[in-house]
């Protein structure tokens, strides 16, 4: 039932492909159609934006970043995952905050962690990392790093 609904919703988008990922509904849309597709989904019954996150695909896909929005329809008891891509250079995508104010923190986290610029976001600032932090930690080319830990005073073993 929900598949039919989603098929109907995304019929107007030329770049949209619908997939079934282990029984979950996934719609892949073009970067340019991201906001329009989200708006259609919202008016089609997906009234909650549960989450917005990013996957850094590095070189395994033509476009490096995948932006993933988890939508939820309470009335249809269904979930839909909207996925779009953003290129390696200056990755950006339209912000979903005008549709769902709840996307605010999630998009700020995505910006903080991956450096994706959400165009139209009212307050796109770092949220978890310090304001003067350099780089975006969850990118795959950001090293894990380590801090040497000395648990107690010990003699140097030579």
């Amino acid at each position: 039932m929900t598949e039919a609904l989603i098929n109907e919703l995304f019929a107007e988008f030329s770049g949209a492909t619908l997939e079934d990922s282990l029984g979950q509904n996934v719609a892949r849309v073009d970067n340019a159609e991201w906001f329009a597709a989200a708006r259609v989904a919202k008016h089609g019954g997906f009234e909650v934006c549960v989450d917005v996150t990013v996957v850094d695909r590095m070189t395994s896909r033509p476009d490096r970043f995948e932006i993933v929005a988890n939508l939820l329809s309470m009335q249809h008891q269904a979930r839909l995952r909207l996925i779009t891509t953003a290129p390696r250079q200056d990755p950006s995508v339209a912000s979903l905050v005008p549709l769902w104010p709840g996307a605010n923190f999630a998009e700020r986290e995505a910006y903080d962690m991956f450096g994706i610029v959400f165009e139209g976001h009212p307050d796109l600032t770092r949220i978890l990392m310090p304001d003067d932090w350099q780089g975006h930690p969850l990118r795959k080319d950001f090293g894990v790093g380590s801090v040497p830990v000395q648990f107690k005073e010990s003699h140097q073993v030579t």
Binding site: S21, L22, Q24, R39, K42, E47, V48, C49, V50, D51, T53, V55, D56, S60, V68, N70, M74, Q77, R79, R81, V97, P98, L99, W100, P101, G102, A103, N104, F105, A106, E109, M113, P122, D123, T125, R126, I127, L128, M129, P130, P137, L138, V144
Partner: protein
Amino acid sequence: MTEETTTDQNLDIWVSGTEEPRFMPTDEGTQEISAEESGVRLDEQFGRVIEDDYVFDEDLGSDDERMIVNMGPQHPSTHGVLRLQIELEGEIIRRSKPIIGYLHTGMEKTAEQLTFGQGPTNVTRMDYLAPLHGELAYCLAVEKLLGIEVPPRAAAIRVLMTELNRVSSHLVALATNGMDIGALSMMIYGFREREAILAFFEKTTGLRMNHNYIRPGGVAADLPPGWKQDVAGIIDVMPGRLAEYDDLLENNPIWLSRTRGVGIISASEAIAYGITGPALKATGVAWDLRKAFPYSGIEQFEFEVPVGSHGDVYDRYRVRIDEIRESLKIVEQVMDVMPRGDYRVDDRKVTPPPRARIDESMEALIHHFKLFTEGFKVPPGETYMAVESPRGELGCYLVSDGGAKPYRMHTRAPSFANLQALPIAMADSLMADTVATVASMDPVMGDVDR
């Protein structure tokens, strides 16, 4: 709510840098009682007029009377290291902004360095008051990618443990909520009952918190001998204790006046801001993932979804009390039907061989060693699995590239999303109600910052 209304006036987002410098110094004038002594003005000054989304007359107070107060990050009633930037006009909060990240430890990055088998040790430390829910969401996602089904006993144990965890988490919420408003006895009472549940957790999992008990493929260990008596003891004692809470709070005029009509969130606001859990149920929306997208066979047990009507602090407290009752109902039913059988899936790919086999078989030893050093490989794919944690929808978005470690693990933290509602709940209310509102949202900073 249409998008037109959400774009303009209802978007309560404090944009960084919009604070004007002249707001910053504290103005002594705000402390003075105004000379105008008309009834309306006095009521406002004494804070008798409390309405949700109360729109102030712009002429009422000049900009000079506004000041910005930082509450936290080291404040006893912010439940961790939450910082609230509050713009005050006299005693009234005009705008507020939660500032987070003080507890950020990069757990999503850490998850990419740990194998799928080690993952639960990481996620259990996110929401430290509901560790088993975090583990469950993660393990459900791993199992979804692997395409394995856990045995009925493992599923029943998971339901039993997570529902007990919901009770213990709500008890902390009630205890700290009471403490923050001044009902100090509630703090002692809540922690006393929680201790009984944590003692059972310690007996079963070895630890009071951060259990690493739910693992991909089942649970780490079977329930200990005598578990039925322990759980029955908890179930027997709780109704009486809940009645004591009612005596303490329900008939307490101070408690009622501090919680009723305070920190109101409407249903449409809650849905627009993606708020879940007791904060959403308190607005009257009967949405529970255990009913909508059941997991671990929870659909076979009977329980109700408690709802409130006003979406205020009192309703959130009431929903938590009722959820404790419903969770105990589930626990009681699980006890009765607890299936026999294995507590781990019979799949050598994910389940290590039994301890006894390691002593007698070289292959079993190698198998065990490989599983715990290299881990098991998970087929490529991506999935999102969510459970109803005590704070709302706790989801795990897991991407695998076919290796033994997650390519990406993202946790949809309920506290993180719920925190966005603080500005709308607190806007145009009294400064003194901040603490009650924050406590009623029950944010766990480990869950917010991850």
